[in-house]
Symmetry: C2
Amino acid sequence: MSKKWVYFFANGKAEGQADMKDILGGKGANLAEMTNIGIPVPPGFTISTEVCKFYYDHGKTYPEDLKAQVDEALKKLEEVTEKKLGDPEKPLLVSVRSGAAVSMPGMMDTILNLGLNDETVKGLAKLTNNERFAYDAYRRFLQMFGDTALGIPHAEFEKALEAKKEAKGVKLDVELDAEDLRALVEDYKKIYDKHGKEFPQDTYKQLWAAIDAVFGSWMNERAIKYRQINNIKEGELLGTAVNIVTMVFGNMGDDCGTGVCFTRNPNTGEKKPYGEFLQNAQGEDVVAGIRTPVPLEELKKINESVYNELLSIMEKLEKHYKDMQDIEFTIEKGKLYILQTRNGKRTSQAAIKIAVDLVHEGLIDKETAVMRVKPEDVERVLHAKFDDSELKNAKVIAKGLPASPGAATGKVYFDAAKAEKMAKDGEQVILVRPETSPEDVGGMNAAEGILTARGGMTSHAAVVARGMGKPAVVGAEEILVDEETLEFKVNDTVVKEGEWISIDGTTGNVYLGKVKTVKPQGLEGPVAELLTWADEIRRLGVRTNADVPRDAKVARDFGAEGIGLCRTEHMFFEKDRIPKVRRMIVAKTKEQREAALAELLPLQKEDFKGLFRTMKGLPVTIRLIDPPLHEFLPHEEEQMKEVAEQIGITVEELKSVVEQLHELNPMLGHRGCRLTITYPEIAVMQTKAIIGAAIELKREENIDVIPEIMIPLVGHINELKYVKKVVVETAEQLIKEVGIELTYKVGTMIEIPRAAITADQIAQEAEFFSFGTNDLTQMTFGFSRDDVGKFLPEYLEKGILEHDPFKSLDWNGVGQLVKMGTEKGKAARKDLKVGVCGEHGGDPRSILFFDAVGLDYVSCSPYRVPVARIAAAQATIKNRK
Amino acid sequence: MSKKWVYFFANGKAEGQADMKDILGGKGANLAEMTNIGIPVPPGFTISTEVCKFYYDHGKTYPEDLKAQVDEALKKLEEVTEKKLGDPEKPLLVSVRSGAAVSMPGMMDTILNLGLNDETVKGLAKLTNNERFAYDAYRRFLQMFGDTALGIPHAEFEKALEAKKEAKGVKLDVELDAEDLRALVEDYKKIYDKHGKEFPQDTYKQLWAAIDAVFGSWMNERAIKYRQINNIKEGELLGTAVNIVTMVFGNMGDDCGTGVCFTRNPNTGEKKPYGEFLQNAQGEDVVAGIRTPVPLEELKKINESVYNELLSIMEKLEKHYKDMQDIEFTIEKGKLYILQTRNGKRTSQAAIKIAVDLVHEGLIDKETAVMRVKPEDVERVLHAKFDDSELKNAKVIAKGLPASPGAATGKVYFDAAKAEKMAKDGEQVILVRPETSPEDVGGMNAAEGILTARGGMTSHAAVVARGMGKPAVVGAEEILVDEETLEFKVNDTVVKEGEWISIDGTTGNVYLGKVKTVKPQGLEGPVAELLTWADEIRRLGVRTNADVPRDAKVARDFGAEGIGLCRTEHMFFEKDRIPKVRRMIVAKTKEQREAALAELLPLQKEDFKGLFRTMKGLPVTIRLIDPPLHEFLPHEEEQMKEVAEQIGITVEELKSVVEQLHELNPMLGHRGCRLTITYPEIAVMQTKAIIGAAIELKREENIDVIPEIMIPLVGHINELKYVKKVVVETAEQLIKEVGIELTYKVGTMIEIPRAAITADQIAQEAEFFSFGTNDLTQMTFGFSRDDVGKFLPEYLEKGILEHDPFKSLDWNGVGQLVKMGTEKGKAARKDLKVGVCGEHGGDPRSILFFDAVGLDYVSCSPYRVPVARIAAAQATIKNRK
């Protein structure tokens, strides 16, 4: 039985329709659809993508019955247009274009004006009464056909054109008259000769050569590369379709023209037609930028009826496709043709506004609106960005990882303390460091943005900057920071302290000099509305990682439903704490250590009260001390002296402690619960602070808190058992002493592979799990996030990894441990609450996975909360399928 | 229905037997068994362990029908002994002893001479015609009963005894006469009064009080602790049994005596009775060490018929139990009684000889022999040890991890080069380092043994020492090495360069001064025979980790069936290579790097030829470069100068390279396949060396080699794909050029958790797997083996971990990844060969697991090969069940 390979469309009736993209390609399906709904589309036909597949499956040959089907379609086309391919009187001219199911702009071939030859060009001239137009069309066809179908270098034709203009002493193509163009046609033919190619005067041969060329272009290098880059897998698409469409011309006189219009403003989303029009021109003239198009409204003056027709078509198309449309049109002698429509590209702001407006207009439902907006759109409207006009002239001097979004400009300072001081003096500051450490936090907070030469997406600088909502570019490895001479070098550029730079934490770009920024719009209007819809849809809870009330407040305002991770040690770095923390570390006896801890207790209790107060009524997960103790001690000679004096020991003693604490791989060292097993008194102090804070808030301010105490870095159930016992005994005693009712939970991070593997055992002790996917990724891959910059960029470039696993969860590896841990945990304890508090908690692709494997919530940095809300809603919708 | 609680035995007939240990305890079951086979055992009865369980399950009460059963057994006992409990004329005396299914020596209570009171003591005196003996027995009973049944401190009785001797002016107990002892009995009674306790003159009450005491002792602190330490889980044992046995006395005159004998020599295993005898004495006298026993042969002179009877009983018992027996006997007035028999403890050497001899004697089969020997026994006979007699007086100054077995003594040197020089000058040297690095290898090789202050069981020092078969103690954290003053301190002891120390790599002890060592016996005689039997039994192959022909030779001699891991980078440290390696690292262009690699190629090829030649016909797995490159560069100022000069760059350039290569967590850094992905030219060179060596050996020496090229640190299939492509292309080209047939395999280490999780994918590219359980353990636990000394000892002490996971595989966590990786890998590729080359490959408990999950082979350091052979055989037998 014969298969249908060719789909005809004309005069309000098409054999295809919009949902046949797979076999008609996007363009073909849309031409058919538009035809069906009565849009004035030039008639034509589409050769299906299945032919493309057949072509490559069968050694570049066509199905036997294809020719007959093409002939039949061509015949019909000739009938409806009342023209004929190759007819010297009434020649039919067509365009031959590629079009796959997925848009691959500019990657495959297009031939226009097919059907012209030495005879038909005369017919065209007569028919249009415009010889210049006819020969211009012919020479364009010769050029495109030669290049595309026969492989004659494009440049040769260009050269001939330039030579002609030079000979005539003119600059613009339009200054060539019919005579010139006729001569140029002869020059072009000579180029064919020179390359031993023959231009087929037989128009039917032209057609098949063009079809061959389009199918051939599916496997050209550009197209293959494009599919690789855009992650289009082999076999995912059947191939390209070939669209053969009657030519219409916008350049046949002043009653002609061409334009592009959007049904709404693609920059702002405003509901108002938007577009450009160029009289007496073809599409390529617009692209070439030789003449400047006028705003769409001008068309009204030129031809009001066509303008009104266009407006009504725009409305019709938008209603039909239920989205803002980007439409190409041509007016040929006062008649309007629509050449293409597609969902229009738009800015983040517009995407959100349009989606929300369409819901209000009843065109789409809330779920559709939520799916229309990319999570990054939500993020973008909440962060500062550079002024586009200024950005054009700014010089990119380096590129790092886009660690915390937003744009910032300021003067370079290399020292956190100095940065803080300069900011206090009213300067805009960018803190530039080789890498940051917890002691830089003050300077980071004071700066407009942070730039580091080392570190990955989850380095200290990145994590802290995201928490603060500060733009940050990290791991800009080309930058060599010299802290002695107070300058940084990048290639030949030297930037000294006090000089201006600008950084874009959304792209990773570092610019020399000052670039104006545009303030963000904030969480109001359409984005706020969209997010409430997302909240109605999503299954996953969204919490935040916040250590201080300030961050917690930001996150609450952004819609966080609790704190998923409070890193208690961040409080240790405050100026009034750090000496006490250090005395605790250098303590030689348990008694000394307990004395130092006793001084920390009231301070830490106040911290927790602040957090609980801010999060009133929402759950707060507090992680016990996690980092290795040496992180709290100075490592440089100069600082050591100061610190030793401050805490009242000799420099030698301090050095000896630092040396004892030194580890070859601190990431895998004495930290997390390993610390509280060695020094249970730290857990005792922290538990007292947490439970004490909850008790006092309840008694003094009538605020109910359910603290969730989280024990980090557990790999074996016995570790959890040991520390949990200390925590519970301390808590129970405190609660008993006060005689109050207080509920608290004790749970654990799942961040060690072994914990995920033995999650069923661990769930016997843990009342909740929180996946620490940063560390889990480090250990599952064996990648140190601090050092991965040495090879990860190359891995991504060489395609060894598809995603940076610290940015977007590795579904197949780390994800399997998350899945295993969740399943085993929930099997062992039905009411186990399972969340994630790694950086992945704010990454949409990761959130999709977390939703699929049944986590209860994600927790992310405050500024990612809106992103997580929408991503979670999208995950719910996608995973429902 | 009534349950049987009491088991009687007398005169060749017992109600119990040997296989009833669970309910009769070890002692009770053996008494029954011996009775049944006609051994002269004093009659008695056993109250079962089920009573003990009942006792604790029912609030320390007994089953209702117990009393009736005890009464009946007592009656039978009185009948066979023709004595009666409490009878003033013919008093029955019994011992009341505990005895669980598992021997818990000294942990529970024993009461002897029960049945004595103020009346029966007189009867005993008359009956034995020995008043002194009777009162001595009585006062002993009073003491034991008071202490054990009534809780009167033992010391009080001792004090009274001492007072009595002092008053009489004598030193020894035996110097007290009947009168003294009678008075002492009165003194003892006063002690009872003082404590408000009453001594029951009612002998039946005595009996029940003693039964109570024995059952009560099951839960005393000592016993609970013992079970904890020996890993006897709660509920694993029902409890203790109570053995009530007629007393026999070896201290009633010169026709009496007591002794212990072994059926073979427990030190050498020689088949010759061995033991000691003490005339006119009770067991406790032997223990007290007051008199020195004579060798067993002396008994022949004293009483030849008893001696002959004992010899024939020994033979009977050994044949019956099919193992060397440790027998307690007593001679009462010329009549021989056997009080106990059990499998005798023995040295490693004896264990092996006895097992092998018993097979030759037809008593046991080869499998039983293999199961009788502990894998450590095999190891011990192959390593040097200290002379026991000298060891007694040696002072232990520190204790570290027993990293590589054997004993060594020598003069302390802190510098590898100096150690090497001194050794060349004929000194015995112990190399003492804070930790070793690859540059110390020469010194390590020259030294008798290695001692480090830092590092774990899989640290560089430990791994290399094991490979060399050198004794090593590592991670002796108390030791502070001062490389400037050339001394080390440990507490108050200072040891200077050139002073003698001795180290025991089997125990981890460090001794001050010189301790004489005893040379090992080597792989010959019984141990060699036993190992051939093990080879017949085992399913797992045993390979070795060896980098140089010397190690490979040792391993072959020890029975290795191939090389499971050759670490190519170890070759890089040789003096003639390291400058070339360094030039390769500091190369600024690919061309420079390739030039340096070209110089390395012929050297590395020769290395491989050496290995292939040694392993002729056996498989050799060669791992491509693994460690981070900075390990090959110097880090200290002094050395940098020298090296910079040597490789022809400036110190600044070298420093800059070192800084660039610096990593915060090198363990998780730029190493393994990550290196060969960045620098494929290294893989090219190594492949050329491997394949080139195989080709040349084949052509020049007609040796067939199947090299197995192993790509380390793979976490993602694409990493393996990438490097494998480089390897295969290089190999194929080389093979094609030569026009020879050569088979080689390309496989990977599974040492990253992600590799185990995605083993099905990885097996699509890998022709073999080798589990690198060292790194896999590091990453699965999140433990750095270099730093774990900071908390692991505490983890073991606190019972958080049962085993050091670097020493013995963590079955539940890391083991699950090994299982998952093996199953997934073999499911994806049927003929996938799977081995393990981590330190665990030589650990018996780990080998048991590897066998169970279906690995094909284990690979371990050369000196562990014999251990692995026997452990693998035992695993086969155990896992068969």
